[in-house]
């Protein structure tokens, strides 16, 4: 393993449990200690303009999108080199992508491994609608948009760099099909059913030394009720203004059966059925 291979990418489509998994890992890396939901920030954040400006020495807000894109592989190398050896977790919502010149934005030489957390897109649609303050139908349409991108700077400064998402199916496929970075695919539903087992498999994949007691303590320190209580008491900096629900909203699987109309569920199945079946999201004739 190269010296620069220090980054563990924690990847997901938005609203798929990324924050929960990173909190569990950060707790585990501290022996199962309590975590502050507002303390995770840059420690495991998304690539952002401040990092590009400071690490590459440039005014990124004066650059055009294509100029920023061309620098992103370099930025990820700089992030890996910044604090020397030792695992760095990074949150990722991007699909796996390359610059127009063909350079991988997530360089294999900087990567220790990648974990892709996937969630039933029918639950994602509900969560995304609350997170963005949009209708479920709009969320479903966004999840089918092959050009979907997060944090594009069109008329205002954005904290994060633009992140190409694509549609939900191509997002997960892009990571499953890349061969550059060792990938562990983990279902949110499986993590929810047995968080200790799920956390230990992620820790094993990223080479995080731990024992069973620490894994259990990390799971206990990041239980949904505790995270929600922290948000209620202190707010949460990752909650979008305009959201119609707390960031830690429900923390469960299968809510779509209650909250989606049969037409909405059928629409998601039509858009993503093939990938859903491949991932074991049962898709019978009646959409369940």
């Amino acid at each position: 393993m190269a010296d620069a291979a220090t980054i563990g990418w924690i990847i997901s489509y938005p609203k798929s449990g990324n924050t929960w998994l990173r909190l569990m890992l950060l707790s585990l890396m501290q022996g199962g200690a309590a975590v502050d939901i507002n303390g995770i920030g840059n420690e495991a954040g998304l690539a952002n303009h401040v990092e590009m400006d400071e690490l590459l020495v440039v005014e990124s807000s004066e650059l055009f999108p294509n100029e920023q894109v061309a620098a992103q592989p370099d930025l990820n190398m700089a992030i890996a080199a910044e604090t020397g050896p030792g695992l760095k977790l990074r949150k990722v919502h991007d699909r796996y992508w390359r610059t127009p010149e063909g350079v991988a934005v997530f360089p294999a030489s900087a990567s220790r491994g990648a974990v892709y957390l996937v969630r039933d897109p029918r639950d994602v649609a509900i969560s995304l609608s609350h997170h963005r303050g949009i209708t479920v139908d709009s969320a479903i349409a966004a999840m089918a948009d092959p050009t979907a991108t997060l944090s594009e700077s069109i008329d205002r400064q954005r904290r994060q760099l633009a992140q190409p998402l694509g549609d939900w199916s191509s997002h997960v496929r892009s990571w499953m099909e890349q061969l550059d970075i060792p990938l562990l695919l983990l279902r949110y539903e499986d993590l929810l059913a047995d968080p200790t087992q799920g956390l230990r498999s992620v820790a094993g994949h990223l080479g995080i030394a731990h024992d069973a007691g620490a894994a259990q303590a990390a799971v206990d320190a990041t239980r949904f009720e505790g995270l929600r209580a922290q948000e209620q008491a202190h707010g949460f900096g990752e909650r979008k203004p305009g959201s119609t629900a707390p960031f830690f909203r429900e923390g469960s699987a299968g809510g779509w059966r209650r909250d989606l109309t049969s037409e909405q569920a059928a629409r998601i199945l039509m858009d993503h059925g093939e990938t859903m079946r491949q991932l074991g999201y049962a898709c019978g004739a009646n959409g369940t």
Partner: protein, 287 residues
Amino acid sequence: MPLPSLPAPTGHGEPDLTLSRGPVPHRLQAPVWSSHFVEIGADGAVLVRVPDVVGFLVRDGCKVILDEDCDAETSVIETFLFSTVAGAVLHRRGIFPLHASCVMVGDVAVALAGVSGRGKSTLAGIMSMHGHDVVSDDICPVAFQNGRAMIAPGPCRIRLWPDSATLLGLSHEALDVGRPNHPKRVLSARGTDGAPKPLGAVVRVAIDRRIETPILHRLSGPSAITPMEELVYRARLGRRLDRRVGLFQDLVRLAALVPIYQLIRPEGSFDPALLVDLVRSTANSAH
């Protein structure tokens, strides 16, 4: 080469910095450090290059060479000359570059500091619209003289995104172009004369999505000057140009001479006049 953004110099001595067109290498040979945009040579030369747009070579901290093949507009040249290149020159000369936009409040300068994206320029624009002269946007060179921190005025052109222009009640079209076709535009604000201005307060600007009303409080001890990037323009570049110790010493000196505040603002909509009152109050309490 015309640089319309700069205030007229006040002295009559020999220039201590020259800017000229000349040959600039595409890459430095055997750089000691390099990024996508900047390289540092073993001799301390700094190459700043935005690929296919503009290239500068900074030599000895007193000579800036603009790539003779660069055909970019003056406004584009100024965009990078007064940011990354200015930072390289100041670090190379051992002059402390405060990462701040700076306005006059009464007879002192108040620096609005912070990393990119905190709204320094927007706040300077708001202050300008409320009658305060602009000393500099984004970088403030600090000289420590006779027990005071003095700011050398720079370009009083404030670079704004469309949403900031709207907040200031300005139409996007009324602003000058920076980089052609780029959404950021330039407000030519009322500036000061070129004489150094005494720094009365530093206000570190922060954003918190969870609050609805701006909060101002004074910082003390180590929290006033850490993390360094909140106050030092491109601190990593400085550290690589042998300013590791010097920057820290200057920060300590700054904090000893000037009160340092934190202004936390909400992310959503808010009344800009509230921020103006809070910034003004820092200068008043400095007296």
